[in-house]
Amino acid sequence: MNQKFISKQETQYSDDHLIQLTTDITQNKQIFTNIFENCSDVVFQSFEIKDHTHLLVIYIEELIDTKHFESVILKPLMYEDQPNGLGNLSSIRQLFQEQITSALGAKTLCKVTDITQQVLRGHVAVLAQGENKALLVNVLNLEKRGLEEPSSELVIRGPKEAFIENIASNLALLRKRLRTPRLKIEKFTIGELSQTDLAIAYINGIATNSIIEEVRKRVSSIQIDGVMESGYIEEFIEDLPFSPFPQVHNTERPDVVASMLLEGKVAIFVDTTPFVLIIPMTFWSALQSSEDYYERFMLSTSIRWIRYLFLLIALFLPSLYVALTTYHQEMIPTSLLISIAIARENVPFPALVEALIMEIVFEALREAGVRLPRAVSQAMSIVGALVIGQAAVQAGIVSTPMVIVVAITGIANFTIPRFNFGNAIRLLRFPMIILAGTLGLYGVLLGILTLLLHVASLRSFGVPYFSPISPLSLGDLKDVVIRKPWWAMNFRERIIRNLNPKRIPEGQKPSPKRGKDGN
């Protein structure tokens, strides 16, 4: 696959450049100064070593570790008592390898485009007079931030490190958790100009070949100028673009990636972003948090049910309120109906308009909150709570029950562990409110049916999105309806069709007797 992209690059340059290096170093220099014209960050350094061989070193200053560069490349070359006959690259390479150990991975290349690529990736190219090849030494030193706590998926119990914007560190974080040669990492390069590194990770013998093959196919057929975030890749590889629901899981937690690989899923790492994609994704995996598996199973099970309940509330509460107060007042118990009616007495708007106003204002508050400079957030929360909450009610623009409904809905939305899934729910709330305001509960019902039809028809890489609930897969309910204790999770999810269904040997239920008779 790499070949494909490089060959594209070749055609791009071949018009005005020779593909192969020449033996004349000045001509070679000319080639590269042409390529790197107006690239002020590229450094060309010519010098002569002891036996009068001309050398040319090309590198990008900001990408390399300058100290390292000096100590492992410049110093040996300038070394006072170098052996004679160092004039050719192979002996220079030998020298480097002796000096700097093989870890830096020096290699010789002849093609101009390859060399250009490597220089752009932080290698140092060394060219010598009379040689038609270049030696490339990896002294990459990318500025990167340290490992921090994940900002989008917080847990109380569980590992607190998150991925960063560097694919190599991210893969290392994964490898740290799965120390097996069966963890395979396949590299791709995507983006004609950005040349972004992308890696597919899976566990050999667990992930199904058909899914891996499908991922390879979809990923390698992407043609794009540049990739800035894994979201670009997600939109190219998902099954149904016209859907509010995310069909590719994303996470910045290495433990989530590792555990999902153990379930037979496939991860896609993209350089320059901490968000790793995992496929296939299901509706229910969006409602699972990694902490569910670290906490006691009884608690996790009940927390899951709270999430399911609040998913429904986040989606339907405003529309139910609108439908009941507009069309089906008789269903509200009398005393409650009276207090709602009193609260709504002064409100000039119908419930539908009131709900839309409040929901939109709430969304605006949320959106503003995300981008707010920290210094003004205090002021913002006062504006939000006092002005919109209390003053609007006192002024008779909205009713108190409506404020309560919107507030509960807002809280409910944050119980959904996957942020982008929560956004889908946020978005769907509005058509539901409009249906409720025009057709009452009948409209809400039709909305539910449409949603169910849509969700039931979705697939993520061949796995039905709504499974294991529908199509029903009884064995897989252990991780949806409840969270079985670890010693009872004997099988991997069947819906993902992994190669090795057996996961944890049976009979490990702890008991006082266990272990006494040598088990």
Partner: protein
């Protein structure tokens, strides 16, 4: 072609058979013995459905509209086969007419039917576009809720203290004639005869050998649910009110009252009916579209979705002026005896006879 699992077939069969029978109640002419009529209908219905299943076994992999041309020849078989998709469009329209009466009288008094029926048809069109597998999945998601709601309803009724079992007695006190009268033809055509159109879906089921068991089990469950609904409706209302009410099972839900807090749940009941109607209309139209596709030998069935949906909607909107003519009008006087009986009973029996004879001749020739 999309396939559905046997469990999905089970679910769809139940939802289809319950359909609108649950809206209008059943056999109210039999008064307090309506539940016996229902029980007998179920037994005969099981027999009729067995005939359809035998026909399916005789034509493995073929759908309803392919049976007739195969046995009767192209010139006689194809016109008969065409009657089914056309009747299914009408059937969808009739279900819409059911809703046209039910929804305004219960939950949306001032909304014009054309509005709420068009929205419903849009949802159905989306579902038919997605295919039978999607319906199967939605059905299997919803059925547990249905059964739980049904059980809750019964528990709530009992705890509301409105169930008077003495209303059921004397059993068959007015003679057998009154019990048997509603069974033929309405009881059999409405709920069980229509199941013949599942012959359009049977070839799409994964495990062919289990279809018989699945379908019969679904039919028994439907019969049980409907019989229980009738028993409860009668024991709550007594014979007279039961006979007079248009939507007895709907009124039944109205009777629920718990601690003065949970009451007036009738809107929930209507939604319950809308969902079953949704499935029944969708299945009618899906089968119709698939039949048309097979009869016209076209590769793509999606081109038929819009015409079928629109004609069904048009029929539903223009069929009747009021609920009385809807229940007792043209449909019962003309279509039921002259259309449904041939389509559900006469043609399939003829088909069975012809198929059996031909098979016997074939076996003799072979031997």
């Amino acid at each position: 072609m999309q396939k559905i699992s046997n469990y999905q077939l089970f679910v769809l069969t139940i939802l289809f058979q319950i359909g609108t029978t649950i809206i209008f109640g059943f056999a109210s002419a039999a008064g307090r013995d309506a539940w016996i009529s229902m029980l007998i209908s179920t037994l005969i219905g099981i027999f009729i459905i067995s005939v359809y299943l035998v026909l399916m076994r005789l034509h493995p992999g073929l759908t309803l509209v392919e049976w007739y041309p195969k046995q009767f020849g192209k010139w006689l078989g194809t016109p008969i086969a065409w009657l089914y998709p056309l009747y299914q469009i009408y059937g969808g329209g009739r279900m819409l007419a059911d809703l046209q009466d039910l929804v305004p009288t219960t939950i949306l008094p001032r909304t014009p039917p054309i509005f709420f029926l068009t929205v419903l048809m849009l949802v159905i069109a989306y579902g038919v576009y997605l295919g039978i597998e999607t319906f199967g999945r939605v059905g299997e998601f919803l059925l547990p809720f249905f059964l739980v709601l049904f059980c809750t309803e019964i528990i709530l009724l009992i705890s509301s203290g409105v169930v008077h079992a003495e209303n059921l007695f004397p059993i068959a006190g007015e003679g057998l004639e009154r019990v048997l009268k509603p069974i033929w033809p309405v009881g059999l055509t409405q709920t069980f005869g229509e199941t013949v159109q599942f012959a359009m879906i049977w070839p799409l089921v994964e495990q062919q050998d289990k279809i018989v068991k699945t379908t019969l089990f679904a039919t028994i469950l439907t019969g049980t649910v409907l019989t229980l609904s009738n028993i409860f409706a009668i024991s709550v209302f007594g014979e007279i009110t039961f006979q007079r009410s248009t939507y007895p099972l709907y009124s039944l839900i109205r009777e629920i009252s718990l601690a003065d807090f949970i009451e007036n749940l009738d809107a929930i009941g209507v939604l319950y009916f809308v969902v079953t109607a949704f499935f029944k209309i969708s299945l009618h139209l899906f089968c119709s579209i698939r039949a048309i596709q097979l009869l016209t030998n076209s590769k793509n069935s999606r081109q038929f979705i819009l015409p079928v949906i629109i004609s069904s909607l048009f029929m539903g909107l223009t069929m009747t002026d009021n609920v009385a003519s809807h229940i007792n009008g043209v449909h019962m006087k003309i279509l039921a005896p002259y259309f449904t009986i041939p389509l559900w009973f006469v043609f399939p029996s003829m088909l069975l006879v012809v198929a059996l004879i031909r098979q016997k001749l074939f076996n003799q020739n072979k031997g």
